[in-house]
Amino acid sequence: MHWIDYAAPQSLDEAVALFRKHGADARALAGGTDLLVQLEDGRRRNGFVIDIKKIPQLTAIDWDPVKGLTLGAAAPCYQIAANADVQEHYPGLHDVVEMIGGTPIQGRASVGGNLCNASPSADSIPVLIAYGAIAHIVGPDGVRHLPVEEFCVAPGKNALGEDEFLAALHLPPPDPHSGARYVRFIPRNEMDIAVVGVGVNVTLDGDKVSAARVALSAVAPTPLFVPAAGAALVGHPVSDETIAKAAQAAADAATPIDDMRGTAKYRKHLCGVMTRRALEAAVKRARGEKVSGPVHDV
């Protein structure tokens, strides 16, 4: 690795001052499971690493029935997975955090880092989009809010300004009779990168869908919000037919590439299949049924 300097600010103000001073040369370090690999192999050349884990707010997980869930950007996956409020109110998020990486990766990797890394195949981003999560971005001028679907701008590139960093993610409180789910397709049971990932969130009003959000990963340059898939459901009763329409809308929106994990054609097909499965599971959750078990199909 090239030479780097390291600082571990203890407060948000200290961090703001450091990011302001070092600008584009600075990069936030949370779990480091992506950043340290990228610095080591030269994919990133930042010279100043700012460890944000020592700032108490940045590893906090706060739940409030009115405000919703606030995740510190550096909160590691294992803490989120073990949080009783997350388990009860955000099962779709729980699907993801208990599945990213193996045990030692979960001990370090954060959802905030997964978002900032802006990988097209990031597991947590579709589910954040499905939940309507908002990124809290801190810079010299204070805090600005950005919907997660606008956060990733290109593979590996996010919407943060040079002197900004992600402080927290805010998930609104779930609607009554709503359910979310993340599923992905991978060739093996553990430790793999999604061929296709789908995050969905569905709210029911009686037998009809009153709100729905669908997002995909690994099928476009950035994680992809598909409003058309949600629109295909809203106002319609839950049925195989409406779910099939939403699944088709998801497949139509995908613009995947051919790579070693699958061909574009295969991925487009998978988008439909996985969207259908995710929606079926989310509807079950919205009806109060428990859905657990593996979130990926092999």
Binding site: M1, H2, D41, G42
Partner: protein
């Protein structure tokens, strides 16, 4: 021939034995004698060192004045090597040597037995340090990272390799070699 008859008898005896208690496969040969080692499950002699972390492997040993190596691997499988420019790496302070396939003797294309059956020598040579064509897209397998300097020197060549890859789509340059293995 008596040499073939003997094992047949043994096999028969063994399968008879298996028939009586049903615990053995039919073709299993059972010894009539008990041996001190054969048939027992001894704990491996280097086991205690290995489970306590005391065992020393090549990458664990530091000698005074020891040079550290780093290997540049190809970013592409089955890439043709157009050229390898080592000048910048060689010019770096502290770089003792840069080795490519050009530094190795021409082996010729003969078939030799290297202990694991007949092998084409030109293939073996290409597996040590690639010349002409890279066969693998190498995983980054690192033997030890004590010398950051060696890594950076190798990195220099890597960057140049990528540059040329961008210029010539069909002829990806690259260089491949084998790092000091971390297996014992």
């Amino acid at each position: 021939m008596s040499t073939t008859a003997a094992p047949t008898d043994k096999t028969k005896a063994a399968s008879n034995g298996a028939g009586s208690n049903g615990n053995f496969e039919h073709n299993m040969v059972l010894a009539k004698e008990r041996y001190n080692i054969v048939g027992t499950r001894p704990v491996r002699h280097d086991g205690a060192d290995k489970v306590t972390g005391r065992a020393l492997y090549g990458a664990d040993i530091k000698l005074s004045g020891m040079l550290e190596g780093a290997v540049l691997r190809s970013p592409h499988a089955h890439a043709r090597i157009v050229s390898i420019d080592t000048s910048e790496a060689e010019a770096m302070e502290g770089v003792y040597a840069v080795v490519t396939a050009a530094d190795m003797p021409e082996s010729g294309d003969k078939i030799v037995d290297i202990g694991e059956g007949d092998t084409r020598l030109s293939y073996v040579r290409g597996n040590v340090l690639a010349h002409d064509k890279v066969r693998y897209c190498g995983p980054r397998h690192r033997g030890g990272r004590r010398c950051q300097h060696a890594r950076r020197a190798a990195g220099l060549r890597k960057d140049q390799g990528r540059l040329r890859a961008a210029q010539s789509r069909d002829h990806h340059p690259g260089c491949h070699g084998r790092r000091r293995a971390c297996h014992p």
